[in-house]
Subunit: 156 residues, 2 copies
DNA sequence: GTGACTTACTACTAAATTCATAGTAACTGA
DNA sequence: TCAGTTACTATGAATTTAGTAGTAAGTCAC
């Protein structure tokens, strides 16, 4: 499908999702694979270094290099030098990367409902101590997505 | 990564995300690739038939067969016979599949903010006519995800 | 200052997946 | 009977992914 990996390839790929009118497709062009999503998850969990990601995900280093480069290129992560000698870089979330958290929580919420059970990682509000129960609503009406009829308008 | 495609493979894959404590990883085991997500998007848009998906996505039929089977196997779609002769099946969303809509909207919302511009498909509330602006909040506190500190609790 | 260790990779090959095209099965409708 | 429709399967090439090993540029312990 050629969604990720090489920037060069992406720019020249005719079938690229990045130019589609559907914003879901455009987004998936950047993060439409499990590794990228899991890297984003781990980045939100506070991991920043190559080896942290590699150990957490048990991902082949070639894959990790490719994904980190792509996510950096696409503006979800930023490569930052944290040591001049030896030269060492870390990958930190950009604003766009931080804004990705709701997606991860929406996915997690679906998983809790439909793939829950057994031992699961849970998230709590640090202030109130209550478990976080993510719902995606329409800011305007306040209605949870999926509870009301939607009209789709194509461009052009 | 062996996330999808063959059920057999998934069950025997040691590295399978399905058994992880992280619900995000578990979910991604089922829908952690762009094709699956786009099929879900199209299913929500009302597509049900093999050829509708194939034409909409320009996906190779082998891929489509594999993805539809996996999504059906995993309970997001249901295969339903709509004609006895000739034998014809269609794929309709299950409850789990319908519950996936918030994920798609969360992804779309991210895309609108960070990959918007140009001609984009838009969604409106059919009743109020206002454009849908999805926000993922914590049901308990009402706070948008990402605006408050979170405590992660690992199992065990 | 030598040897063990760390970190962030790259090289390389094998395995698996994906893509694209063509073809098939079971019909319908003219 | 013959083109057309729908839902696929077969096949082989191209691409991607995985896994292991190795490298570069240091630090630290003694």
């Amino acid at each position: 499908m050629n969604l990720v990996v090489s920037h060069y390839q992406k720019d020249t790929d005719m079938k690229n999702l990045s130019n589609q009118p559907c914003l879901i497709a455009r987004s998936l062009a950047l993060v439409g694979d499990a590794w990228s999503m899991l890297i984003m998850r781990d980045a939100h969990a506070g991991l920043t270094r190559f080896d942290e990601f590699r150990k957490s995900l048990q991902i082949a280093p070639t894959m990790l290099t490719a994904r980190l480069s792509a996510l950096t290129e696409d503006g979800l992560l930023e490569k930052r030098r944290y040591s001049e000698r030896p030269p060492r870089d870390e990958y930190v979330l950009t604003e766009a990367g931080r804004d990705f958290l709701p997606v991860l929580f929406a996915i997690g919420a679906w998983g809790r409902k439909h793939r829950g059970g057994g031992e699961v990682t849970r998230f709590f509000d640090a202030e109130t101590g209550t478990e976080i129960d993510p719902v995606t609503i329409d800011r305007e009406t306040g209605a949870p997505v999926g509870t009301r009829a939607i009209r789709t308008v194509l461009p052009g």
